[in-house]
Symmetry: C2
């Protein structure tokens, strides 16, 4: 896997709402040190609160890559985006894009990159050198976030735990499996975009054997109980070979994402299935906590709902946004010896 | 999904051993009525026992498609195969190939197809119009074969059951998820070659709602316990939304395919996991039998081993090659009302 050169300039285009710059915002939130500024086009109505920089100013400030982290209708590149992409290359920045429409499919962008000796990264595009997984035990410690559903905070949880562990001097690295995560980590594989045969092998590739005592914290995807994406989740679970799982859940979500009428699994059933499947490649896999999104509840309701989960599952349960993730980090470090501490 | 026109001429090239014509043999075995003959090149040392026909003779006998169902080193097309492919097109046959090297990547083959108004089918290449699955209940009855491992007889079992049911006047159709199966069924999707997000959706596509009372018998792939391919197997299970499962197993296999040292799961555990996962999309899923490959055992050992499985799991257990599949068909029809009978 190639590394996306940093620091970044975050491209906002003419975005009108916050949702369409969600990816850029994720990078700005979790890796402020990677971001020298933002670049808006005429008509843009949002800001990430970073310095507004022209391409040449950004390069002067050290920017190495323009991040096209926007979601527009259809995921295609407008003539304006193409023009800006070429301008950025000519100014001296590499390009990374999360749009469905690939940079590499636009010959004028490819030519500009070549002329300037720069790289383009289509982060939805998996590498070509994937192999099938083998499940053989590998060195190192790995934690994976799993979920009752898609979009229940697995990336957020993984990054919050990385931050918490780093604050405690524990060697831990976020490993990315989705597009925002890949921009944050500067590398990774979009696991839902690989050929089905290579799901687990891709995860073995992003979290290879390590012997420095540190943790790989692997971003989960989907849910074993989501009928659209469970294959991705199971391959991820087997490939991650996790020592530890954190189960992620959103309180009071009315139905599985995208499927009105389909209820979420209960947490105990979901956790049991994930542990059984994880033990196919790591017989010692355990759960160390539950992370919830409690934004639909009042603080009192959230506290009570977390307490109930703690009683039922015997695991610390926190909303990482509202409550932090310290008790789950405590449990993780209690369960594994402290040799991981730097 | 397009249908591969029949009847077929089976191309053997200059194959030296039986393994390299395995795909063609599968077609000849299960769909003799589809095959007008075989075509060998100079130096070929195997035969399927079909009439040896030139391309023009085959066309005279009604052949609509040349099946390149051979496995050569690297899966690439030799200059000789390319020449023969073009000759076949010029003689008036469509082409279907299971090689990794795609027909559609050879411009001279594409041109010859166009000139002759004929089609080319790269059966390892999924269609472009895949969608994500939704798991919504759909009409019809479906059976899926699942396994303790890869290559334990899932395709054979599915086809043997189709034959048995048809012999009893039950409306049943084999649905293909692998390359040999696709040539046999004349359509299907190579499920391990789709983008991970589309696994379950692909299976929903090959076994759409049906209201004629008949069964879709879906070819399984991999195993929930194979660390390389379990994601494929789980997506297949969810997409199939099966009413009935048959568990397939090979006695005395020393380790999971391709992974020396990794034992196979025990049958009860494997069946339980498959049923739990199947019930995510079909809460009423049940198992109706166990099919074994007993070729490593003596007939007496096989009989005794099957009897032990029957006691343990409470399901009929047969080796479909050595013993037939009648008792499993009996159980299937006992468990579901007889409205499926034609």
């Amino acid at each position: 896997m190639k590394t996306i050169p940093s620091p970044y300039l975050l491209y906002l285009g003419d975005a009108k709402d916050d949702l369409s710059v969600k990816t850029s915002r994720g990078v700005a939130t979790w890796r402020p040190a990677l971001c020298v500024g933002e670049h808006s086009a005429e008509g843009c109505e949002v800001s990430l609160g970073l310095p507004q920089l022209s391409f040449t100013d950004a390069v002067d400030k050290g920017a190495k890559t323009l991040i096209i982290g926007i979601a527009n209708a259809g995921g295609s590149m407008s003539p304006q985006i193409i023009k800006h992409a070429i301008d950025a290359l000519n100014a001296g920045m590499n390009l990374a894009s999360g749009l469905h429409d690939r940079l590499s499919d636009h010959l004028e962008i490819v030519a500009a990159a070549k002329n300037n000796g720069l790289q383009i990264f289509d982060i939805r595009q998996p590498p070509n050198n994937l192999v099938v997984g083998n499940g053989r035990p590998r060195a190192g410690r790995r934690l994976l976030t799993v979920g009752t559903d898609c979009s229940v905070g697995k990336m957020y949880t993984t990054l919050a735990l990385e931050k918490e562990l780093k604050n405690r001097g524990v060697n831990a690295n976020f490993r990315a499996t989705g597009q925002t995560g890949i921009l944050i980590a500067q590398s990774g594989i979009p696991i839902d975009a690989v050929i089905a045969d290579f799901i687990s092998g891709s995860v073995e590739m992003i979290s290879p054997a390590r012997d420095d005592g540190g943790w790989d914290l692997i971003e989960g995807q989907g849910s074993l109980f989501h009928p659209s994406y469970a294959g991705v989740s199971l391959g991820l679970l087997h490939g991650a070979q996790p020592d530890a799982l954190i189960l992620c859940h959103e309180f009071d979500r009315p139905h599985m994402r995208g499927i009105p009428g389909r209820p979420l699994p209960d947490l105990a059933t979901c956790l049991k299935s994930n542990l059984e499947a994880a033990r196919v490649t790591n017989p010692d896999a355990i759960a160390v906590g539950v992370c919830v999104n409690s934004s639909r509840l009042s603080p009192e309701q959230a506290k009570s709902a977390c307490a109930e989960i703690e009683r039922e599952l015997g695991l610390p349960c926190q909303d990482p946004i509202a409550m932090g993730i310290n008790r789950i980090a405590d449990r993780l470090l209690e369960c594994f010896d402290k040799s991981a501490a730097a």
